[in-house]
């Protein structure tokens, strides 16, 4: 980029910002519900200042160079906040692309020689494209962090061990079972068995959407571990579709006690513990 261009851009910083803001505000996808205009303005101003300030360096194409790190830092910060605030990828992308348009527009106004204009535009394009790639990378990273945090929360809240009766535990499993979750489920269940000295555990899988061979393997593991502890484990809540899949996959559940509903599992547990539930006849005087 010739010295002229960057000086020009620095001089026209205000113009660029105004144009960019105009572009952003004119955009249909403007999310006033997520970010206020003032905030958007200060974000944009910060970025433009940093960007134009760094255009003075000779090194435009190599974004890994130190001169670019403040720009990337600011952009990364904006991208991550946007990911957390729930902006869509398109909206975040438009944020950067509209800046490119503003820059090009200013160039077009100021440079009359079409050859030079093309060369300069190409450079601006390259820089801005690189910056948008960085933005997307950080945006996705921010989204992934959100997802990871939610996964952790789900695993924490979704494995309660319920004491349904003295000596009977129930563990309703909701959601897909993977190795990590099975580990947590197993640990919680075994710990609770030790603490309550329960002899029967009911594993209710009515909330598990699908059972494949891996999930079945995990279930069998949990049942075997419970057995090793000296308690009996019943699997309940098996839906017809799951029974079909299990048989089609050739999974052997014959040495595991299975019941169709939690109620029948509980009835079985009562029978094993020699307990009886009876209806009390109302005495009329």
């Amino acid at each position: 980029m010739s010295i002229n261009t960057y000086q020009l851009l620095q001089k026209k910083k205000k113009n660029i910002l105004e144009l960019w803001m105009k572009n952003q505000l004119a955009d249909e996808g403007l999310r006033e519900d997520l970010i206020s205009n003032e905030e958007l303005r200060s974000q944009s101003e910060e970025l433009v200042t940093s960007l134009v300030g760094n255009l003075s360096s000779d090194n435009f194409s190599d974004l890994n160079s130190d001169e670019w790190s403040p720009v990337i830092e600011i952009l990364g910060g904006i991208a991550i906040t946007r990911a957390r605030q729930g902006f869509s990828p398109r909206e975040t992308g438009n944020f950067v692309f509209s800046l490119k348009e503003a820059l090009l527009e200013v160039l077009q106004e100021e440079i009359t020689d079409s050859k030079q204009l093309f060369a300069e535009s190409l450079k601006i394009n390259r820089i801005m494209d690189n910056l948008s790639v960085v933005t997307f990378e950080t945006f996705i990273k921010g989204r992934e962090e959100v997802i990871l945090r939610q996964t952790d929360e789900i695993t924490e809240i979704s494995t309660p061990v319920i004491r349904v009766w003295d000596g009977i535990l129930a563990l309703p499993i909701i959601g897909t079972l993977d190795s990590a979750r099975t580990q947590i489920v197993m640990e919680n269940l075994l710990q609770e068995i030790v603490e309550t000295r329960s002899s029967i555990a009911i594993l209710d899988i009515s909330g598990v959407p699908a059972v494949d061979s891996l999930v079945a393997q995990h279930l069998i593991k949990t049942v075997s571990a419970t057995r090793l502890m000296g308690a009996e484990c019943i699997i309940s809540g098996i839906r017809p579709e799951i029974a079909q899949t299990v048989v089609h996959l050739g999974i052997d559940l014959s040495n595991i006690i299975t019941k169709s509903s939690l109620a029948s599992a509980l009835a079985y547990a009562f029978k094993v513990m020699r307990l009886e539930v009876r209806k009390v006849s109302t005495i009329q005087k």
């Binding site: 640990e187 075994l190 329960s198 571990a225 090793l228 502890m229």
Partner: protein, 134 residues
């Protein structure tokens, strides 16, 4: 050398493992226990492993072996008080200890043994009296 004591309780043998088993100790226990089953013609063996926090595939196999050997000598084996971590490890090692009975604690293990063993044999009364006396 260390030795794990084997206590006789009527028709049953009671073994409480209070230390972490190393291989040599486990092998000695296996030999001693089988000898003892034969000598006392015990009907049941109760192994309490509530103090064992570390287990490996060798230990798992020894417990399985003890159960099978006792079975041949007409004694049932009950393993009691297994810790959650130990149970998970054994499962992950692919050792579900088939053929070994389990119970949560010594009390429940004893009840299980009592229900399992056929008391219709001749020395039934004596055995039960012994148990109560002790």
């Amino acid at each position: 050398m260390d030795k794990i004591p084997i206590l006789r309780m009527g028709a049953f043998l009671l073994v409480t493992i209070q230390v972490d088993l190393y291989d040599r100790l486990a092998l000695t226990l296996e030999a001693d226990l089988v000898q003892m089953v034969q000598k006392t013609s015990a009907k049941g063996v109760l192994i309490d492993i509530s103090a064992v926090s570390i287990v490996d595939s060798f230990m798992g196999r020894i417990i399985g072996n003890i159960a099978s050997m006792s079975k041949i000598l007409d004694a049932e084996t009950v393993v009691v008080g297994m810790q959650p971590a130990v149970a998970i490890t054994l499962i992950e090692l692919g050792l579900p200890l088939k053929g070994v009975h389990t119970a949560l604690d010594v009390e429940k293990g004893m009840n299980l043994l009592k229900t399992m063993i056929d008391f219709t044999e001749d020395d039934e009364d004596l055995t039960e009296d012994d148990l109560i006396a002790e």
